[in-house]
C-alpha cells in the first residue's frame, strides 16, 4: 500500500470513528497539519490525499489520530434545543 493509500485509509478511519462528514474532517486535518507541522497542505476533499507527496502523506498519518472528534451539528442542535 502506498503512503497516499495509507493516509487515505487513516483519514477515512478517523471519519468513521468520529462520525463526521468529510467536509469537517478535511478542515480539521488541514488545521492540525498547519498547527503541528507549520505546513500548508491544500486539500480539496478526501481524494486529494491520494495526490499528496509521500512526505505530506506521512504527515497526514501522523496527525490524524490527534484530530478532534466532536460534532458541530450536534452542538448547533443543542443550542436550538433539538438534540
Amino acid at each position: 500500500m502506498t503512503k497516499q493509500q495509507q493516509a487515505f485509509k487513516a483519514f477515512t478511519a478517523y471519519l468513521r470513528k468520529a462520525r463526521l462528514s468529510h467536509v469537517i474532517g478535511i478542515m480539521r486535518l488541514q488545521d492540525a497539519i498547519r498547527t503541528q507541522y507549520q505546513k500548508d497542505v491544500f486539500l480539496r476533499d478526501p481524494w486529494s490525499i491520494k495526490k499528496l507527496t509521500d512526505a505530506e502523506a506521512d504527515v497526514v498519518i501522523l496527525v490524524v489520530n490527534s484530530l478532534d472528534c466532536s460534532s458541530i451539528t450536534e452542538r448547533v442542535q443543542d443550542q436550538l434545543g433539538l438534540s
Binding site: V23, I26, F42, T73, V76, Q79
Partner: protein, 808 residues
C-alpha cells in the same frame, strides 16, 4: 429540504402517488378501457369489491380444474386479476373516488400545465391566464354521516358516501353533456373532471376547461338531499356544495410574492421558485375550498334544523339535534362568554328570536337571512383561524428555542438573499474540457461499476425484459407482464430505482399503525443544482444515480434491520430502519458517508458551462425515531419526517459554512498570482450556497473568519464556537421570516375568504330582492329591508377589498 416543505399539510405531502400523475400516460396504457371509464359512467358499485371477487372466483376455479393447460390459463388470469386489484386499490377508495392524497398531486400537475411559474428573467408569470377562470374546484360535503353509521354498522355510511359519489358523477356529467357541443362528447366528459374523497365525508371535484356558469350550475345541482336506496329505510342525507375558481387564490399568491419581494428570482433558483409558487397556490386553494365549504355547511345545517322543526317527518328534530348536530350548532347561539351547548329547547328559542319561521307554512323573517350569513361566516372563519393556530402551535413546539430568541430580536432586519452568479464569474476565462476531465470520468465510472445496480433498477430491468418476451408468447402473458411492470413503475423512481415518496409514507404508516419501531433519516444531497447546471445534464444525472446506488448499497448492508431507501424529491432522499436506536442510526449515516467516499468526486462531462469543478458527493442528514417505548409521541409519519427534516437544515448549514470557510482559507494562503481562478471557482460555489449560508451576510462572515484564521488571531476552535452561534442565530432568523410570511399569507387568505363570502351574500340578497319585486303582492317593508342589507353588505365587501389593496 426547505423549511417550508417541512410544514406542508398532511393531505399534500402524504401519499401514495407523489409523482404518479406524471406517469399518467403510462397508466392509461396499462389500465383497461373499462377501468378508465368505469368511475364516470357506471352505477355506484365498489370497483374494489368487483376486482377482489374476481380474484376469489379465479382462485376457486383454479383449484377445481385438473386439466394442466386450463390450469395454466387460469393461473395467468388470476395473476392479471390480482394485479388489477392491486392497481385499483392503490388509486381509489371504497366509493370509487380517487384517494384524497391524489388531489394535491393532480392539482400541482394542473398548475404546471397552465404554466404557473417563472419566465426567462425569473419573474412570476402564467402562460394561460384564461385558465384561472376556466378551471374550478367544487367541494361536496355529505352531512350526517354519524347518523348513517349509528343506524347499523359502517356499511350504511359507506352506502351514503357511494350515493354521494354517484350523485357527483351524475350531476357533473349531465351538466357537461349540455354544455359541450360537437362530436365525441362522451369521450370528452371523463377527461374534464375528477372526483377525490379528500376526507371522511368530503369530496373534491376538479373541473377542467368550463366556464363559471357551468361550475355554478354543477354546484347548485349538488346541493340539497341525496336519497339512499329505499331498502335501507333511512332518511336522505344533506349535501352542501361550493365552488371556487383558481383566480382569487392566484391574486393572493401574487400579492404575497410582491410583499416579500420574491416576485423575481435569479436563474439558479428558478425551478425551486416555480415549485414553491405551485405548492403555495395549492395550499391557498385548499384552505379556501375547505373554509368556503364550512361556510355553506353551517348554513345548510341551520336550514336543515329549521326545516326539520317546521316539517317533522322522519328523524325527530330533537333527536337530530341532540345526537348529531348539537356538537356543531350547539354553541352557535350561546350567550357571549359561554361555551356550553344550548339544549334543544334553548336552541329552538334562539332560532325563533332571530326570525326563523318554525311553524308549518311560516315564512322566515328577512333578519333570519342576515343571521344565517353572519353565523356561517363567523363560524367558518373561526374554524379557519383555529386550523392556522394549531399549525402554528406545532411549529412553535418544534422551534421553541428559536421563538424565545426571536422575541429578543424582534426588530432585526430580515436577511436579503441575492442568488445570481456574479458577472465576474460568468465572464472569467476557464480551461477547456480535455484529458484531465476525461480521466476523471473514467475513474468515476469505474467506481460506479463497483457499486451494483440498485435492487429497484434490477427489478425494473427484469420486468422490462419479461414484458418484451411476453409479447411474443400471448395476449394474456403480455397483459400480465405489462401490469406487473406498470405497478412496479408506480412504486419507484425511474432514475435510481429507489422507492418513491408515496411508498415511504405508506410503509411508515403501516409500521406505526402496528406500533412497530422505525427511524427516519432525511437526506439532502448537496450541490445537485451545481452538478446539473454547471457540470452538464449528465453530471447531475450521474450524481443522482450515484446517490441511489450508495443508498441502495447501504440498504443491503442493513437488510437485517429492515433498511429501506427512498427518493422523495429532486435532491431529497429518505432512509429508514426498523428500529428506534440512535446509535444504529449514526452507524447507518456513517456507512452512507463511507460509501460516498468510495465513489469520489463527480466529474464534469462535455456540455458543462466551464465553471464546473468536481465536488464529492456530500449528504446532509437529520434523523428521528418512533417507538412506543422511547418516542411514542412520534406516532405520526408526517411529524416524524418533519422532525427529521428540521435537523437536516442544521447539518446542511454546518457543512456548507465549513466547506466554504476551508476553501476561502486556502485562497488566502495561495500566492496572489494563483488566486484569480480559485476565486472564480469559489464564487460559483457561493452562488449555489446562498440559502444555506443566509445570503450575502453569511458570505461576508466567512471572508472575515478566513482572514482572522489566516492572521492567527483566532484558532479553528474559536472559529467553530463562533460558527455554531452564528448558524444557530441564522436558523432562528430564518424561522422568524417563515413565521412572518405564514402570518401574512394567513391574513391575506382570510380577507379573500371574507370577500368571497360577502360576494355570495350579495348575490343571494340580489336574488331575494328580484324575487320580492316580482311577487304579486309587493311587500314594501321587506323590499326596503333587503335593499338596506344589500347596501350594508356591499359596504362591508368594499372595506375588505380596500384593506387588501393597502396591504399589497
Amino acid at each position: 429540504m426547505a423549511f417550508r416543505s417541512v410544514f406542508l399539510p398532511v393531505w399534500f405531502t402524504g401519499f401514495f402517488y407523489w409523482r404518479l400523475w406524471l406517469k399518467t400516460c403510462y397508466t392509461l396504457i396499462i389500465m383497461s378501457r373499462e377501468t378508465v371509464r368505469l368511475p364516470k359512467t357506471e352505477e355506484v358499485r365498489s370497483g374494489l369489491k368487483i376486482r377482489a371477487d374476481k380474484v376469489v372466483l379465479l382462485s376457486t376455479e383454479m383449484e377445481k380444474v385438473k386439466d394442466s393447460a386450463e390450469k395454466e390459463r387460469l393461473r395467468l388470469e388470476l395473476e392479471i386479476a390480482q394485479k388489477e386489484y392491486e392497481f385499483y386499490k392503490w388509486e381509489r377508495d371504497i366509493t370509487g373516488a380517487k384517494k384524497g392524497n391524489r388531489f394535491g398531486v393532480d392539482l400541482k400537475d394542473m398548475l404546471e400545465c397552465i404554466g404557473i411559474g417563472r419566465d426567462e428573467s425569473g419573474e412570476f408569470t402564467i402562460e394561460q391566464p384564461e385558465a384561472l377562470d376556466r378551471n374550478h374546484l367544487v367541494m361536496v360535503n355529505m352531512g350526517e354521516l354519524d347518523r348513517l353509521n349509528s343506524s347499523g354498522d359502517h356499511k350504511l355510511g359507506d352506502v351514503g358516501l357511494g350515493v354521494t359519489y354517484y350523485r357527483i358523477q351524475q350531476v357533473v356529467s349531465e351538466n357537461l353533456r349540455e354544455y359541450l357541443e360537437g362530436e365525441d362528447i362522451e369521450e370528452k366528459i371523463p377527461t374534464m373532471f375528477e372526483v377525490y374523497r379528500v376526507s371522511g365525508n368530503d369530496f373534491a371535484v376538479v373541473l377542467k376547461d368550463v366556464n363559471e356558469e357551468i361550475a355554478k350550475r354543477i354546484t347548485e345541482g349538488l346541493e340539497g338531499n341525496a336519497e339512499l336506496p329505499e331498502e335501507h329505510g333511512v332518511e336522505a342525507v344533506p349535501l352542501a356544495a361550493n365552488n371556487i375558481s383558481l383566480r382569487g387564490s392566484f391574486e393572493v399568491l401574487k400579492t404575497i410574492r410582491s410583499v416579500f419581494g420574491s416576485e423575481s428570482v435569479g436563474e439558479i433558483d428558478m425551478a425551486d421558485a416555480e415549485q414553491d409558487d405551485r405548492t403555495l397556490l395549492i395550499t391557498l386553494l385548499r384552505e379556501r375550498l375547505f373554509t368556503m365549504n364550512d361556510f355553506v355547511k353551517v348554513r345548510s345545517r341551520l336550514e336543515r334544523m329549521v326545516d326539520k322543526i317546521k316539517n317533522p317527518d322522519g328523524v325527530p328534530a330533537e333527536k337530530l339535534y341532540n345526537d348529531f348536530l348539537k356538537k356543531t350548532l350547539g354553541t352557535v347561539f350561546a350567550k357571549p362568554g359561554s361555551d356550553a351547548a344550548l339544549d334543544f329547547g334553548e336552541f329552538v328559542e334562539a332560532l325563533r328570536d332571530r326570525g326563523a319561521g318554525l311553524e308549518a307554512g311560516a315564512e322566515n323573517d328577512p333578519e333570519w337571512e342576515r343571521t344565517l350569513f353572519l353565523t356561517s361566516r363567523d363560524q367558518s372563519i373561526r374554524a379557519f383561524q383555529d386550523r392556522y393556530e394549531m399549525k402554528r402551535k406545532l411549529e412553535v413546539e418544534l422551534h421553541r428555542q428559536v421563538i424565545s430568541d426571536l422575541r429578543k430580536r424582534a426588530n432585526e432586519q430580515l436577511i436579503d438573499i441575492p442568488e445570481t452568479i456574479p458577472e465576474s464569474v460568468k465572464d472569467s476565462v476557464r480551461p477547456e474540457y480535455g484529458a484531465e476531465q476525461e480521466l476523471a470520468v473514467m475513474e468515476f465510472e469505474t467506481a460506479m461499476e463497483d457499486l451494483e445496480e440498485t435492487e429497484g433498477q434490477q427489478i425494473l430491468q427484469n420486468l422490462e425484459n419479461k414484458n418484451k418476451e411476453a409479447k411474443s408468447i400471448g395476449v394474456r402473458e403480455a397483459r400480465l407482464a405489462e401490469l406487473m411492470l406498470g405497478v412496479e413503475k408506480l412504486k419507484r423512481d425511474s432514475r435510481t430505482g429507489l422507492k418513491e415518496r408515496g411508498m415511504l409514507f405508506g410503509e411508515m404508516t403501516e409500521r406505526i399503525e402496528n406500533k412497530k419501531p422505525i427511524s427516519v433519516i432525511s437526506i439532502d444531497m448537496a450541490f445537485l443544482k451545481f452538478f446539473d447546471k454547471e457540470g452538464g445534464g449528465k453530471t447531475g444525472d450521474n450524481a443522482i444515480l450515484a446517490a441511489g446506488k450508495i443508498l441502495d448499497a447501504v440498504k443491503r448492508k442493513y437488510a437485517e434491520i429492515g433498511a429501506e431507501a427512498y427518493r422523495v424529491g429532486g435532491d431529497e432522499f429518505v432512509f429508514t430502519i426498523n428500529v428506534d436506536d440512535a446509535e444504529l442510526v449514526q452507524e447507518v449515516i456513517q456507512s452512507i458517508r463511507d460509501t460516498a467516499l468510495e465513489v469520489g468526486p463527480i466529474p464534469e462531462y462535455k456540455g458543462g458551462t466551464g465553471r464546473y469543478r468536481p465536488e464529492m458527493l456530500q449528504f446532509n442528514f437529520g434523523a428521528k425515531g418512533y417507538s412506543e417505548e422511547q418516542n411514542p409521541t412520534m406516532s405520526n409519519p408526517d411529524k416524524l419526517v418533519h422532525e427529521a427534516d428540521a435537523r437536516v437544515e442544521i447539518d446542511k448549514a454546518v457543512n456548507r459554512f465549513v466547506l466554504l470557510l476551508q476553501r476561502e482559507d486556502q485562497i488566502q494562503r495561495m500566492p496572489a498570482t494563483d488566486r484569480s481562478s480559485a476565486v472564480a471557482d469559489l464564487d460559483v460555489l457561493y452562488a449555489y450556497s446562498a440559502k444555506s449560508i443566509f445570503g450575502a451576510e453569511g458570505k461576508e462572515k466567512i471572508k472575515e473568519w478566513a482572514l482572522e484564521y489566516r492572521s492567527g488571531s483566532k484558532s479553528l476552535k474559536q472559529l467553530t464556537t463562533e460558527l455554531i452561534a452564528y448558524i444557530a442565530k441564522g436558523l432562528e432568523n430564518k424561522g422568524k421570516k417563515d413565521f412572518e410570511r405564514d402570518d401574512l399569507e394567513h391574513v391575506l387568505l382570510r380577507n379573500e375568504l371574507i370577500i368571497e363570502m360577502q360576494h355570495a351574500e350579495i348575490s343571494k340578497l340580489r336574488e331575494s330582492l328580484e324575487k320580492a319585486n316580482k311577487e304579486k303582492e309587493v311587500d314594501h317593508e321587506r323590499i326596503a329591508k333587503l335593499k338596506e342589507r344589500l347596501t350594508e353588505a356591499e359596504v362591508d365587501r368594499d372595506k375588505v377589498i380596500q384593506f387588501r389593496k393597502e396591504l399589497a
